[in-house]
């Protein structure tokens, strides 16, 4: 069993707005092993991006990390001071952002923007040496080193996303958070970018959390998949398990909503809407939409249980109990 890189316990992120407290992430437990690729899926507003931002401690007001621990190699990030946390960002945990279109400063050259990162993480070396370093990074993500002299508007979407990947790996982080890194790209480029991400990841041996809702992409990339619903992790299992034998009714519906290229089956959605995170109903948050809801579902919040694959659903707690 490889070492655990990241260990999240009871992570809660609340947004205090006038109408009340929005529980965007409400008690998430997650362990990620060294070099593991974890996919985090769920509908919009399920808390997957917020979880990633919370790991980075990048939750902005009115949001706040209301509780829990995020341990990176045993060090609790939540209790670090802001300057300490700054040196963790980009260095130990790196982010590949969602919209690479605007993720680079439009008025500065790629080279300057990459050098900023090196300097602010204490890499002071000769121009030749850092130039060499940047060239290597560019080669790693499949870009010509002449791209360094360009401005972001002179790059295509795929190239920009490669630049952000190069930035993310420049300090050989232990963990890379990729927040829908391909959502703004066309499918051909998507595949190339994901392959690049996988190549550099395996090269530096980092663990990855891939946030997204593209189940097809997840199936290709991830080792394990975590399914989030209403700020909670409802199922966490290996890719094979999730697709072959999804246990949570929400996961089942999510997978059956994928288009089927072989058959002539009609596209199927999940009826209803996720609950308002201002007032999550008692019991299982998925109960109002669940085709298999039982009496107990409205009364008791199911716990995330199982070994090694986890699920939080009364269908299975009873099975486990029985």
């Amino acid at each position: 069993m490889p070492d655990t890189v990241l260990s999240i316990r009871d992570l809660r992120v609340y947004f205090n707005i006038r109408a009340g407290t929005v529980r965007a992430v409400d008690g998430v437990d997650l362990d990620i092993a060294e070099g593991e690729k974890l996919g985090l899926v769920g509908e919009s507003g399920s808390g997957k991006t917020t979880t990633a931002l919370a790991i980075m401690r990048m939750i902005k007001p009115p949001g706040e990390i209301a509780g829990g621990t995020v341990k990176l190699d045993g060090r609790d990030l939540i209790s670090l001071s802001e300057p300490e946390m700054r040196s963790v960002r980009g260095n130990d945990v790196a982010m590949v952002p969602q919209a690479a279109m605007n993720a680079l400063n439009p008025v500065r050259r790629i080279r300057s923007q990459m050098l900023d990162g090196l300097r602010d993480h204490g890499i002071n070396e000769s121009r030749e040496r850092s130039q060499e370093r940047l060239n290597t990074l560019m080669a790693q993500v499949g870009l010509n080193s002449s791209v360094l002299n360009l401005f972001p508007h002179e790059l295509s979407g795929g190239m920009k996303q490669r630049v952000t990947i190069a930035m993310a790996i420049s300090h050989k982080p232990r963990l890379i958070l990729a927040d829908e890194p391909t959502s703004a790209l066309d499918v051909v480029v998507q595949r190339q970018v994901m392959e690049t991400l996988e190549d550099v990841r395996s090269e530096i041996g980092a663990a990855v959390i891939l946030v997204g809702h593209d189940m097809g992409l997840m199936a290709q990339f991830a080792d394990r998949i975590g399914v989030m619903y209403a700020g909670k992790l409802v199922e966490l299992a290996t890719v094979q398990q999730i697709f072959a034998n999804p246990r949570h009714p929400y996961t089942r519906l999510l997978i059956s909503s994928l288009p089927d290229t072989a058959g002539k089956r009609r596209l199927q959605g999940i009826p209803g809407l996720p609950p308002s995170l201002l007032a999550v109903p008692p019991g299982c948050p998925f109960m109002p939409r669940c085709p298999e809801a039982m009496d107990i579902c409205g009364e008791e919040v199911p716990q995330l249980v199982g070994d090694p694959d986890l699920v939080s659903c009364h269908l299975h707690t009873e099975a486990v109990a029985a």
Binding site: R89, M101, A103, N105, F151
Partner: protein, 341 residues
């Protein structure tokens, strides 16, 4: 940057100057049918300098200045002399050349405008940017409303207020209250020969109040614009990514925040230049500061047509030139316009 871009900017510059000079040539002619030469001579006659044969003299002057010719011929004559760089003679101070009068005044106006606009722009933009960033100092937050209150007040009103407060002795002023010169650019008691260090210092001392009238009124304007731009910039993905990459807050502030938020500010600066110049003219008149504003004011009062034309022409060239310079510089500070350039 391509040759065509520069050529287009130069063309625009010349077009603006030509249009503006044409307007200012015809406007005073339409507005009044007073005859400046005759008035001038009447004035001289009143003081006993001129006795007989006034009609003849008027004719002679009119011929010399071409004032007896049809308007369009005067216009062509005026344009051709402008092209030759000749701004004619002053009607009142004949035979002083208008150009010489302007050259004498120009350093004062350029110094006043240059220093006050740069100070106001720099201070305003910096404080506006700081205010938009988390952790802005409390005193700065308190100062903003004061400057916002000052910004809609016209420069000349501020000039009068400042004059009342800092150039005149009042009963209520304590001992230490600073008093600054009321008017002029140098002390009346000192005669200077050429530009010595003493004279420069004296001029700066005299320029404080005129400059403050402009600076105080402008800081709020630039601060407000910059704060708004900075708030927008903070929401940009590249600022968020810069933070997530663990860049130092000071670097994110300057190179990812201010660097980008300054661009629209510079555009506003180019657009504001004409307003600034017209405001400065009034401030100069109030402080009897020997710049081009005072020259223009006196020329208008005495219907000294060629001085009016000359000063306004030079002001137009200055405003158009500042826009032109910005147009040329802009592609260097915003690479996205470079492609269009």
């Amino acid at each position: 940057m391509s040759i065509t871009y520069i050529a287009a900017r130069i063309g625009m510059f010349l077009l603006v100057v030509w249009l503006a000079t044409t307007v200012i040539f015809f406007l005073p002619r339409i507005a009044s049918d007073r005859n400046p030469v005759r008035e001038r001579l009447v004035m001289m006659a009143a003081t006993g300098n001129l006795a007989t044969g006034m009609e003849k003299v008027v004719e002679a002057y009119e011929q010399e200045y071409g004032l007896d010719q049809p308007l369009y011929l005067q216009y062509i004559r005026y344009l051709s002399s402008l092209v030759r760089g000749d701004l004619n003679y002053s009607l009142i101070n004949y035979p002083t050349r208008v150009w010489d009068m302007i050259v004498q005044r120009m350093p004062y106006t350029l110094g006043l405008v240059g220093i006050s606009v740069l100070t106001a722009f720099a201070l305003g933009s910096l404080s506006g940017a700081t205010l938009a960033w988390p952790g802005a100092p409390r005193w700065l937050k308190g100062a903003l409303p004061i400057f916002l209150t000052l910004s809609p007040i016209p420069y000349f009103m501020l000039a009068i207020m400042l004059m009342f407060l800092f150039a005149v002795r009042h009963q209520w002023q304590p001992e230490w209250w600073p008093l600054l010169p009321l008017a002029g650019a140098t002390s009346v008691t000192t005669v200077y020969d050429g530009w010595s260090m003493d004279r420069i210092l004296d001029t700066i001392h005299h320029s404080i109040l005129p400059a403050m009238s402009i600076i105080l009124s402008q800081i709020g304007f630039w601060a407000l614009g910059m704060r708004g731009m900075m708030v927008t910039t903070q929401g940009e993905d590249y600022v968020t990514l810069a933070q997530m990459r663990g860049l130092k807050p000071s670097r994110v502030f300057s190179l990812y925040g201010m660097r980008n938020a300054t661009l629209p500010q510079l555009t506003s600066l180019a657009l504001a230049m004409s307003l600034i110049f017209s405001g400065v003219i009034l401030v100069e008149v109030i402080y009897r500061y020997p710049g081009m504003g005072t020259l223009l004011y006196n020329a208008i009062a005495g219907f000294d047509y060629f001085v009016i034309y000359g000063v306004v022409f030079v002001l137009i060239v200055m405003v158009a030139a500042s826009t032109f310079i910005l147009d040329i510089v802009y592609p260097f500070i915003d690479p996205r316009v470079r492609r269009a350039a």
